[in-house]
């Protein structure tokens, strides 16, 4: 399988700014989305993603194609940066996240969608970090189970177990949305 990013990474490693810009345009939105939903805090998500890209620039010159798909590696770095921040932050954030969901928002459709999104994000925030990462990668980022397992550095069976537990928790929290 040919990795579409190999050439860009090599050029970025040689100091090619245009290649760095192209890599950023291709991957930054996805990494920021994962980080934002892992951390629930825009500023922390931006810092995590910036750290991930800094690691990319530092390693680009030594990148060895064929070892791992570049995107898988970058997701892994981003998710690990998020884990670092979550561990530093402790559990305080979870309590705040639970308070975000407010079912009594105006019935206007835009507001309704925004409220729905907030409720889903709040439910996601209550998941343990590994379950949250697994759910996000598979259900939000379109990663296959194999790719998500590689990103999280676990077996596919372990990933499926994380997914099953995460789905169960979300069903319990968001069941009223599903049934309604």
């Amino acid at each position: 399988m040919i990795d579409p990013d190999t050439d860009l990474v090599a050029r970025a490693g040689r100091g090619d700014r245009a290649a760095a810009q192209a890599l950023m345009a291709r991957h930054l939105p996805k990494m920021l989305t994962v980080a934002r939903r892992m951390l629930g805090d825009p500023a922390a998500a931006e810092d995590a993603v910036q750290d991930a890209f800094l690691k990319l620039w530092t390693h680009a010159a030594r990148w060895q194609p064929g070892k791992a798909k570049f995107e898988t590696w970058l997701y892994r770095v981003t998710v690990n940066k998020c884990y670092d921040r979550l561990r530093r932050r402790g559990t305080a954030r979870l309590e705040e996240a639970e308070e975000v969901a407010d079912p009594a928002l105006p019935a206007d459709s835009v507001m309704e969608n925004a409220a729905l999104a907030r409720e889903i994000e709040a439910a996601l925030a209550t998941l343990p970090e590994r379950q949250r990462a697994a759910i996000l990668l598979c259900h939000n980022q379109d990663c296959s189970n194999i790719q998500a397992a590689e990103i999280l550095q676990i077996s596919v069976e372990a990933l499926e177990s994380l997914l099953a537990r995460g789905r169960r928790t979300l069903r319990a929290r968001l069941g009223h949305l599903k049934d309604g």
Binding site: G15, T33, W57, A114, K178
Partner: protein
Amino acid sequence: MGTADEVLSRAAAADDAAWLDHALKGLPSVPVPAALETRILASFEVVTERRKRGLAGAVDRLAGRLRDAVWPGVPVWRPAAALALSLALGIAAGTVFPLEDMMADGGEQIASIALDAPPAFDLGENS
């Protein structure tokens, strides 16, 4: 083949997965702030600059080691100047007195010694 409960539970799990897929993909996309892009590109410039300086530093260190081996304890320019001067002298000498000219003027000497001739030198054995 599982029991009816297992089949139902698997169907429910598949249904949950499909619903979750739909719900999470429907979440609004996260906009990328321009300031973040600028910061990330700035970090690229910093890393690239540092890497270049790292290469220049490696060349400096190599030059320093060579200088210490040739002429320890002096600035790099001195062994470099000495090398340049000797090269210039060599090239000038080669230009003024080309090797072909010296070979062409019949200046070669051929030594021939008859193997049965008595030695031309006396080490004092007969005295």
